[in-house]
Structure formats: structure tokens, C-alpha cells
């Protein structure tokens, strides 16, 4: 892996979004990944619809939570994702209003990624932003800097939040993952969370995945 990488500088990442009072992080994590994959294959960055997943992905539970692996299947089975503009976010489940004619993006498959953070970094630099799930310990009060909670407090088996890794690097020799969150720009570092890289902090390496666009 290169020593540092940031897909934000390369136009592969849309603006930070806000899930509101709804446990829909899984949808934002997945659309962020698909936005990146589509950009890398097609050269166009489109902001994609989370609301379509809340309404139409019947394997998941909208604001009560969901799984990226189910969401990839739903996108594939539905026939694609509409854009944010065409199917805008409401922050609560509504009747499915997906229209195949309006779908702008499709995926062919989804893959599970390595638990090795060095390999994850290499994959990210070559293939694009990665959907991950983490233990959100401390994030209620996070303001800035690189978070590295004590392991007993942020155990990898209590995963409860899905986010998107968009880059990595080092700050004063401390390695970090740059993580796009979905709690608006008035949280964290303009909506981003920086988590220690290389120690399996908060289970960041346990549920890494990506859509495949061919």
C-alpha cells in the first residue's frame, strides 16, 4: 500500500450526509461505497439514494438497522440505485417507490475484504472507499483527532455502526483511517472520524466489504 491515500482528493467521495434520527448508517455506508466504485469505473461521481434502501431493501430494517451484505443484494436484485435527487432522503421508512427507469447506477456483485489492515489499505488505494462496521464507543462525544480507545472499551465483537473508509495516512507518526460518517458536518472533523490504524481498533477490520461494478 502507498504510505497514504485519500479518495476525497480524487473526487470519489460525495459530501458528508446526515442520517438524522434514524439507524440507517448501513445504507449510507453502502451508498458511499457504491458512489466510489461507480466513480472509479465510470468516471462520474453521483450522490446515491439511501432512502431507496430504507424503503425497498426488505431484508433490512430501515431505521432499526441493517447489514451492508443485505443492502448489496437488494441493490443487485432491485436493478440499481437512483440518485439522491430522484429519491431523496426522508429519515424514515416509506413505501418503496423505486423505478428501474430512474436507476443510474448498478452493481454486479459484492465482496468481503481482508481482516488484515495492511491489505485493506492496499485494496483501498487501488479499488476505492470501503464499507466497514465498527464499535461506536466514544463517538457520541468525539470532536477531533485520532481515536484509539482502550481495547476493552471498544471491543471488536460489539459492532454497532457502519461507516465508510475513504483514506488513510499518518499524523505525527500515528497511523489513521479517515472515516466518512453520516451524522452531518457538525459532528467530528467536518463529519469525519479518524481512527487508529493497524491495531484493529474498535473492530474496524472485521466487517470490511465492497460492491463490485464491472
Amino acid at each position: 500500500a502507498p504510505p497514504e491515500w485519500d479518495w476525497r482528493n480524487k473526487g470519489a467521495v460525495t459530501n458528508v450526509k446526515n442520517q438524522g434520527m434514524c439507524g440507517s448508517c448501513w445504507a449510507f455506508s453502502v451508498t458511499g461505497n457504491v458512489e466510489g466504485q461507480w466513480f472509479l469505473k465510470q468516471g462520474t461521481l453521483l450522490s446515491l439514494s439511501e432512502q431507496e434502501l430504507l424503503d425497498c431493501d426488505k431484508m433490512d430494517k430501515a431505521c432499526l438497522g441493517g447489514l451492508p451484505s443485505n443492502a448489496y443484494s437488494a441493490i443487485k436484485n432491485l436493478g440499481g440505485l437512483e440518485t439522491e435527487e430522484d429519491y431523496s432522503y426522508q429519515g424514515q421508512m416509506q413505501a418503496c417507490n423505486f423505478s428501474a427507469e430512474k436507476a443510474k447506477v448498478y452493481i454486479n456483485d459484492s465482496v468481503e475484504l481482508s481482516h488484515n489492515e495492511q491489505k485493506l489499505a492496499a485494496w483501498l488505494a487501488k479499488k476505492g472507499p470501503i464499507s466497514v462496521a465498527i464499535n461506536a464507543f466514544g463517538m457520541q462525544f468525539y470532536r477531533h483527532g485520532i481515536s484509539r480507545p482502550l481495547r476493552p472499551l471498544c471491543t471488536p465483537w460489539l459492532i454497532d455502526h457502519a461507516v465508510l473508509i475513504v483514506g488513510y495516512g499518518n499524523r505525527s507518526d500515528i497511523p489513521f483511517w479517515a472515516i466518512k460518517n453520516s451524522w452531518g458536518t457538525d459532528w467530528g472533523e467536518q463529519g469525519y472520524y479518524y481512527l487508529h490504524r493497524g491495531s484493529g481498533a474498535c473492530g474496524v477490520n472485521t466487517m470490511a466489504s465492497s460492491a463490485v461494478v464491472e
Partner: protein
């Protein structure tokens, strides 16, 4: 609320009769503690001690109280069939022109076993996060910090009681953030965020995703590792 002079809590055995001046703030603290609880599920006050200090905004009461929770008999609600539980609580209450405001509330069971803190076990660290003394000055400072929070995040609440409740959550959260800060091994800073007036339970329920830990989900094929660029 009954206030017998003989406390049952192990840590409160030496307590004497409560000063009459403490009874009113103690009743207020108990009322706040039992807020939103149905009759029959409310804790009762067993003993109280404390002191009062005159502050700019009024009188500041620092109370230590022994509360007794009723036994839980409803199997659809109780996690375990438990007997009566005694709690030791510390409250800080501001009395401003006869109006009470709960600034701080910390309660823990009297039989809590605290580890020696040398081993970094989950229980010892959680204990550290949830307990610890607060100075009175800290609570007073928090009052003005809370007012700034309300302005910054444009918060309004439905009633004075709700505002008081949110203030006590906010203060507890600030203590919690300080302790998370102290235990962080990176460079992160923790403090006031737009979620600072939510209990941990509210935050988890509203913003997080419990399915991630409960359901393994659909098995995906494993990606091929990338080659050397």
C-alpha cells in the same frame, strides 16, 4: 417519601438523622429519580445526609442518599428475578429562589464490587467510567456550559422538568467524556457534541445499528487481494 433514620445500605450505616433542611431537596431528588416511573416501581428514600453551600445562584445541596428499589416481579420486564436493591446515590441540587434544579445524579448498587484497578478488565474500566466524584465548582460551571450548548445546537425542550432532566444527563455526559478522554491512547479530543444531551441508551437506540452485532448476514465471496501496483 419515608426517611427512616436507620439506613440499610452497607456504606451508609453510620449516618445519623437527616437534617430537616435536607429533606426538601432530598424529596426533589427522589422525585427526579422516579420521574416517568409507574407507581409500584418507584424507589423509596431510606436515608439521606449532606450539606448545603450558599452559591451565587442560591443554595447548593450536596446529598448522599440511600434508595431502595422495589423488587421486580414482572417476568416480561425483569431480566433476572431479583430481590430489593439498595442504591447509594449522590445528588447535587441547586435551590434558586425556592425552585430546585438537579445538577448531578450518580447512583450505584451498594454491593458493587470494584476491582483493584490494576488489571485492565472491562468491569474495572466501566466502573471507572461510571463513577467518580465531581466538584461543586464543576457542576456550577456545567450550568453555564449547558446554556451555551442549548444556544449552539438550538435545543428547546418541552418543559422545565425536561430541561432539568437534560441538564443532569448533559453533566453526566461531560464527566463521561472526560473519562473517555483520559482513557484514549490516541490524539482524539472528546467533549461537547450535538449528542451531549442524550443518555447512552437514547444514543444507541436512535443512531446506532444493533443488527450489525446480532446477525452475520449474507455470506459474500472473498475479494482477491490486490497485486503490487
Amino acid at each position: 417519601a419515608p426517611a427512616p433514620t436507620k439506613p440499610r445500605g452497607a456504606g451508609a450505616e453510620a449516618w445519623g438523622p437527616p437534617s430537616p433542611a435536607l429533606l426538601e431537596p432530598a424529596r426533589f431528588a427522589l422525585e427526579m429519580y422516579n420521574r416517568d416511573r409507574a407507581p409500584g416501581t418507584q424507589a423509596v428514600l431510606r436515608a439521606v445526609r449532606g450539606r448545603v453551600r450558599q452559591a451565587d445562584q442560591g443554595s447548593l445541596y450536596s446529598l448522599e442518599a440511600s434508595l431502595e428499589e422495589p423488587p421486580c416481579n414482572d417476568p416480561t420486564v425483569c431480566q433476572l428475578p431479583v430481590s430489593k436493591k439498595t442504591l447509594l446515590c449522590s445528588f447535587e441540587i441547586l435551590d434558586e429562589l425556592g425552585k430546585h434544579m438537579l445538577l448531578r445524579r450518580d447512583c450505584s448498587p451498594v454491593d458493587t464490587k470494584v476491582t483493584d484497578g490494576k488489571n485492565q478488565t472491562l468491569s474495572s474500566v466501566i466502573s471507572l467510567l461510571n463513577k467518580g466524584p465531581l466538584s461543586k465548582d464543576f457542576s456550577m460551571q456545567m450550568l453555564s456550559v449547558f446554556k451555551n450548548f442549548l444556544t449552539t445546537y438550538n435545543r428547546t425542550y418541552e418543559s422545565k422538568e425536561e430541561t432539568q432532566w437534560r441538564l443532569s444527563i448533559f453533566i453526566n455526559n461531560m464527566v463521561r467524556a472526560q473519562k473517555i478522554q483520559a482513557l484514549d491512547q490516541g490524539t482524539a479530543r472528546y467533549g461537547i457534541t450535538k449528542f451531549s444531551d442524550l443518555t447512552e441508551e437514547e444514543f444507541r437506540t436512535i443512531y446506532l445499528n444493533p443488527l450489525l452485532r446480532e446477525d452475520p448476514g449474507k455470506k459474500m465471496r472473498v475479494a482477491k487481494p490486490v497485486g503490487d501496483p
